[in-house]
Structure formats: C-alpha cells, structure tokens
Subunit: 337 residues, 2 copies
DNA sequence: TTGTATGCGTTATCAG
DNA sequence: CTGATAACGCATACAA
C-alpha cells in the first residue's frame, strides 16, 4: 500500500543507457557537452524509466533552489489572491517557483515566525511580503538575511524594495472627484495607519484633500468591515452629508449593503466611493466608483525587482510606484439640490 | 552584494556547542535522546547562529518531503482561491506544506505537463487536483504514480478519490425552488459536460428537473461568460420566459449586468439563479439566489483524505459528497401575473 | 567526449 | 547518552 516504488535516479538511467552517471547529469541539466548519439540514448532511457530530476539533491550541490517565498498575511482576500496569481505567473517566466506561506490562523503570536521558518527551511532565495498589516519593523529581520520586496504597499525603509500603487494619489483623486461633483459635506471611513499601512494613508489622504478643497469632513473610525452598520447609521444621522468614502471596495460594498437596508438611495441621496478595483462585478454590475490599482503590474513588478536583486543588479527603482486610475461608476453623482 | 553568507549547518552548531553533529541532529529533529543539559547548550548555539534545518538535505535521507502538490487549472477565480486557502490551512494542521502549480497560461499544450513535472521534481508526496476542466483521463497517469484526490468535483474513476458537493442535488434544488415559485417557462444557460465536469452536470440537472416538474425549458449554450450579452438577448426574445438559471455565480452576475443594461427588472420581470456561493457580496449586496457549496469543507476534506492515503489507510469514503445549501436571495420571486 | 571522485547537509546505524 | 560513519541523488572539477 504505502510501499511507493523508489524514484529512478541518474544512476538507474545511466545503467540503462550504458553510460556513467556524469553523462546523464550533463544531459538532464543541459551543462557540459555530450555526443549527440549518447544524448539521445540517455534521453530515451530517462523517458522509459520515467526519470525526473530530484530538486532536493540538485539544491544541495547547486546551493540554489530557484524558489522565492511569498509571505501573505491575509490570503483569502481577493486582492491577495490576484496578487499571488500575478506573481506566480511572472516568476515562472523567470524560471522561479513561488511557495507561499501564511499564518495558519490559530496562533497569532509565533504564527508568523513559523511561516517564515518554513520558507527558510526551503531555502527560498528571496522573499515577497504581501500584507497591509505587517509593520515594517517586523519585516526588517528577514530583509537582513534575504533579498526582500514588499508588494502592494509603500515602504520607506532603505533596505527594503517595494512595488506599489501610490496611496496618496488615489485618495486625492477620489476626493477631487467628489468635490468636483459639488459635494461639500463628506464622511470618510478612516483606518489608523497603525492598523494598516495601506488603508491608513489612503483614507488620511482623502480627508486631507477634502479639507484642502474646502469641504467639511466627518471622520468615522472603521477598521473592521463588520461594523459597516454603525457607519451607515452614523452617516444617516448627519443629514447634511452627501457622500461617503470607504477605505476599500470591500468596505464600500459592506457599506452599500447597510445603506440599502436602511433605505438610503445611492447615488441619489448619498454618493459612495471604494478603493482597489478588485473583481469584475465591482466594476460592471455594482458600478462602484473607485480607485483602481494595477494588481497584475504590482505582482509582476515585485517579481521582476526580486529577480534583479538575485542577479546582483540594483533595481532601477528602489521604491516603485505604479500608476492607478480613477474609475467612475454609478455610485457617485452630484449631490441632491 | 550577491555573496550571500553560507547558511549555518549542524556542523557549525556542533562546533559552537562542543558536541558532535549527531547530537545536534537529534536535538533539532527531535528523534533519539540527548542529555537535558546538552540539549539546552545545542539549542542556544543554534539560536545564536540562526540555524534553520535544510529541508533539501533532510528530504534526501528521509525520502519524505511532507509536501503535497496542488494542481490548479484556473487559479485566479474566487472559487479556487478559497479552496487553496482552505487546503493550505488544513495541510498545515497535519504538518504538510502545499505547493501549488498552475499552467503559466501561454502554452496550452505542454503547459500542464510542465506544471506536474515541477511538482514531481519537488517530490510532492501526493496530488490534489482542482479543476473543473481537466478530464479524468488526463489525471489518471499521475494518479497511478501518486496518491491523488480531486477536490471540488465528482470523480467516478475507482482509483481516484474525490471530495465534492453533489452537482445534481444543487441543480435539482434550484429548479424545484423556481417551480415552487410558479415558474413554468425557464431558460437554462447550459455548458456541455465535455467542457466542464462541474458546470455541465449541474446545468443538465437543472434542465432535467424542470422538465420533470412540467416546466418548459429553453436551453441556451453558454460556455463563456463573455457571451452573457447574447444570453440576455436570447432570453428577452422569448416573452413567456420568467426565469433564467446560470451555471455559476459569475455567470449569473454577468447575466444580471447584461439584463440591467437592457432594462429588464430582476426579479420582477425575470428571476435569476446562480451557483457556488462565492464572496460575501454575492450573498449580501446582490442577494443572488444560488446553491452554496461548502468550499472550506471541500478543501479541508480533500487534505484529510490525502493524509489518510499517505498514512496507508483507506479513506472512509472513496468519493465523498458534502452537503450544499439552497440560499434564497432577492433575485428570485414568483413570476409576474 | 566520457568516466572518476568528491562534497553538499541530514539522518540512521552502530560502536563506544 | 554520545560520537563516528555511511548513505541519499546530484553536479562538477579533474583525469583519461
């Protein structure tokens, strides 16, 4: 039952092809030169035996694994799902594998440590950190030992490379959009930067920009989507408010749902904005006005930067900000006169 | 720059702790016995050196990797994202890693082969196949060499274990729901089973059940979501039709969007059903009536079955069907009188 | 071009 | 309880 037949080795192949194992090694690894006739014989023998290179053995002597580790804090969210897909694809292009590690969820404390230890055991050659929650200080210890790039969020520390979409720009663009429509009293669901280094800055930018443009701002603390009902209640208690800005698309959707339950019409009575640009339905069916992040480019760019780092080159941009875009949907309109 | 400092080995640790490498091995692997005092000394030395076990070296001699491979055909879709998360979590619980492989997208042909070869190089101990597209025959060659379980779809072949949510049951439940509401003329967007072993059977079940209950069925071929516009047009051309059943939530959302563009009111004029139960907004904001699959249980169950297989036990259920649930939302209602 | 020998970091077997 | 020593599968200088 469990007596799995041992996998064939280059020695087995060598025996079958009537050559030494060195020759087989050269054939399968593509290095060194072998006679064309011999090569064919080896290839055939390997084929017949179902030989597949053993990555572990290769890694031992090569001191390379061609593997990068992706550390994801909150894996189930669509944003990170897309990011992972983009990274995996780009890594394959460069000849690297991606193994992803994430906290198993239970043990908050040493969870993170265990995840990174797993990656270390695998001898990943570099690290991609995907998390809006993990503070910079927690990343530094790893960045010291491994080339590290942070994807999807700005990172100011000089020893860490990052690829992201500028949060400030998005927040400002959305605020300008609302002010341009004529909104003068706007609620912003804010998240402290200490809680998320992505949601924090973008909501701060929204509020700041609104004030710069002369609008009155009501800040509603909203770290958790589960409390969307409270935001809705709070907003509706201020009849003067004509628009609400959410920290992310998911926050916005939760808010839309709660407003709907309370009978508030969007965008007639209240305009709503999101942030991220995840999922087709956000755009098409819901028509949520939001700031769209170029996730594919972020994931791909992060891998590109990593590969350059591994090749000993310094990436052109240590901190690369990619352009996002304002997507105007059907959840924003001029305020009711 | 690229001169990465060589990772410390058990020999380094042994030297620092003043013992032989055998002792260190016993301490870090937890096998064999060592004096408590010595153990502490070794642990401290390892700590100071930042020693981490080398998984490759360990795998070489242990002939085990504690890694299972997940082969995912279409990774970016929410359904598989959730599934992966669930599997990863459950695998960690059992002490296994999950490395996922997926076609890089470009080369349709040998793409699949390369992905599985990568998994083989890594010497994954088992395979989880997640794909509604991959036909059984393509899976068999791998299942012969590796314990294999198919997640998220039924699989009748005796040498392959599967964990899924019965497609027939869901299709029937949704059809019954519509008939119960009074619908007598219903359109079903169908997908051939040759194209998808999940979407095919469930849409077939819908159509079959509708007919059993005496309803008139219009079957609309709809393999690709991009053609949702055509489905909408087709449906609206038949004024007698009062409901449309889609093969999945995503298909349903695309359809809803197209119906909206054409001014058709849901559910007043037309009822719409989905399938899967992915994403919070499907349920809350859109209120899509659908059949909900227990994705977490499917992912977890697949891993559990795999671990049992690896332990030499025969899983209790060779083909395990998990219960789904009908979720009635706001996109279905009695037909307009 | 081909074969031989050596080492990579661990675990396991066997003496001490 | 501890210490040598032999694999594990592969790549690579080096010799033929």
């Amino acid at each position: 039952m469990t007596d799995r037949p041992r996998n064939p080795t280059i020695i087995d192949v060598a025996g079958r092809a009537g050559v030494s194992k060195s020759v087989v090694s050269r054939v399968v690894s593509g290095r060194g030169s072998v006679g064309e006739e011999t090569r064919q014989r080896v290839l055939r023998a390997a084929q017949e035996l179902g030989y597949v290179v053993n990555a572990s053995a290769r890694a031992m002597v090569a001191h390379r694994t061609y593997t990068v580790g992706a550390f994801v804090r909150d894996a189930a969210t669509p944003f990170y799902g897309h990011l992972l897909t983009a990274m995996q694809e780009r890594a394959a292009f460069h000849g690297y594998r991606v193994v992803t590690a994430t906290g198993s969820g239970r043990f908050e404390e040493d969870d993170e440590y265990r995840a990174l230890e797993t990656l270390a055991m695998l001898r990943v050659e570099a690290l991609i950190v995907c998390s809006g929650l993990l503070p910079s200080e927690r990343i530094l210890p790893f960045a010291e030992r491994l080339p590290t790039v942070v994807a999807g969020r700005p990172e100011t520390h000089p020893s860490i490379t990052s690829v992201y979409c500028d949060e400030d720009e998005g927040g400002v663009a959305l605020a300008d959009h609302l002010v341009g429509l004529g909104h003068r009293e706007v609620a912003v669901v804010t998240v402290p930067t200490s809680h998320s280094v992505t949601l924090g800055p973008r909501t701060a930018a929204m509020a700041r920009r609104l004030r710069e443009r002369g609008a009155h701002v009501l800040e509603i603390p909203g770290s958790h989507r589960e409390t969307a009902g409270a935001w809705a209640t709070e907003v509706l208690r201020h009849p003067g408010i004509t628009a609400v800005m959410a920290p992310s698309d998911r926050h916005a959707l939760a808010l839309l749902e709660q407003l709907r339950l309370r009978g508030a019409a969007v965008p007639e009575q209240l305009s709503v904005t999101g942030y991220d640009g995840i999922g087709d339905l956000t755009t098409s069916l819901i028509g949520l006005t939001h700031w769209r992040q170029p996730i594919d480019l972020i994931g791909g760019g992060a891998v590109d930067a990593l590969v350059q780092l591994l090749d000993g080159e310094q990436p052109p941009d240590h901190h690369r900000a990619l352009p996002g875009a304002l997507v105007v949907g059907r959840t924003t309109a001029p305020p009711a006169a």
